[in-house]
Amino acid sequence: MRITRQLYKAHSFSNMVTTVSEVDDYADVQTVGAYLNDGIRVNNQNEIVKTPWMSEFFSNGYNTREAIFGEEKLSQFKEFINTKAKDFYLKENQVGAIAKIGYQMNNFERAIVHNNITGEQGWYNIPDNATMADLAFETGDHSITTKRYWDIPSQSKIEALQAAGIIDQDYTIHGVFPKVKFALPSIRKYYPGDVGAEICCTFAYNRSTTKDYNAYKDWHSIAWVKRPDEELTINRRGNGRNYIMPLTDINVRTLEGRAVPLSAGRPAALESERLILRKEDSGYIIHLHEINT
């Protein structure tokens, strides 16, 4: 196994990119949980807190994350796995959350998370009575495991996600960064299938006058789905700052005809009206832009 690390700290991002190669699976890494207090509790849930825009992305393959409740939290665990998904992740009234718009689970997660009812990725057409245990990848004695797929899905899956309103007709997914996270420690594992990159991404706009979670009210995040063998045009959005960050190595062409290679996890400011991505590349491209400007 070979590992290289690169930190990209620019444009208000701080992205630690770990590239692994010659490996099927990479590391059982423990990620600490947030310490719970009432100020960051969401929807009065005991195990869910709000989070700034800090998230881990992967370039390809899939990853699993096992949230550990433990034997002394058995009652909370049983309560959680028996909660109906529509009362939880697909709940719109986010008491204590940022902006309080849309589902607690954002569209990007709904697109890439494993659905155990269908055995495929995508949380859509969820039955009303489906519980968290029904949908999760695995449920242990006192832990629950989710799985996320990072390869660009097949055309038929993209069309199904479009029909469900998760992917737009212009191949964008609105809402990328998680709004909430577990206040529980978890074990993360990555399966790149040979070569892949883990991108630990943090975004906090450094010119904001707001210095807390509410700073994100001025920002919107989208993911572009760059399919193989298709060109994609990325447009600037709004009048404020625009930043893009690919999850795979890509080449972009600006309006002036400049060709610029971008590495996975490297942020760039988008000041041209639009960019064109060539046919040969594929992967998700994260695009953040200011709103309310």
Binding site: R5, K9, S12, T31, V32, P185, Y205, R207
Partner: protein, 112 residues
């Protein structure tokens, strides 16, 4: 004290902050071999509380702070300051990101 160390051998400019464990408080048992603890880190410029999984000693949850601290550092927990909301917002409060002292590194900014 929290201190910077070289993060990887082939990139001496990339420094990684190893936080000081200020306080470690056992919370609850997870199973026969592990327990959850509240760990309070000092990131040099800010404090950060989190919940970590630690191994029991001889099947018991230790109460000695030194033993608890040793358990934290031997547990392989991901200590990156990226996991601290306090640290993320520190970025917003510093007009020049290069001055953030949690990690000292930057790259040329690309403008497209």
């Amino acid at each position: 004290m929290a201190k910077f160390v070289t993060f990887i051998e082939n990139n001496p400019d990339l420094m990684h902050l190893v936080p000081e464990v200020k306080e470690c408080t056992p919370l609850y048992s997870i199973n026969s071999t592990s327990f959850a603890a509240k760990v309070e880190y000092d990131f040099k410029d800010s404090m950060h509380s989190s919940i970590a999984i630690l191994n029991k000693v001889d099947g018991k949850i230790p109460s000695n702070l030194k033993i608890l601290n040793d358990l934290v550092f031997s547990s392989g927990i991901d200590f990156y300051p990226h996991h601290s909301p306090t640290w993320a917002f520190k970025l917003t409060s510093d007009p020049k990101q290069g001055n953030v002292d949690a990690i000292q590194d930057t790259v040329d900014e690309i403008i497209l």
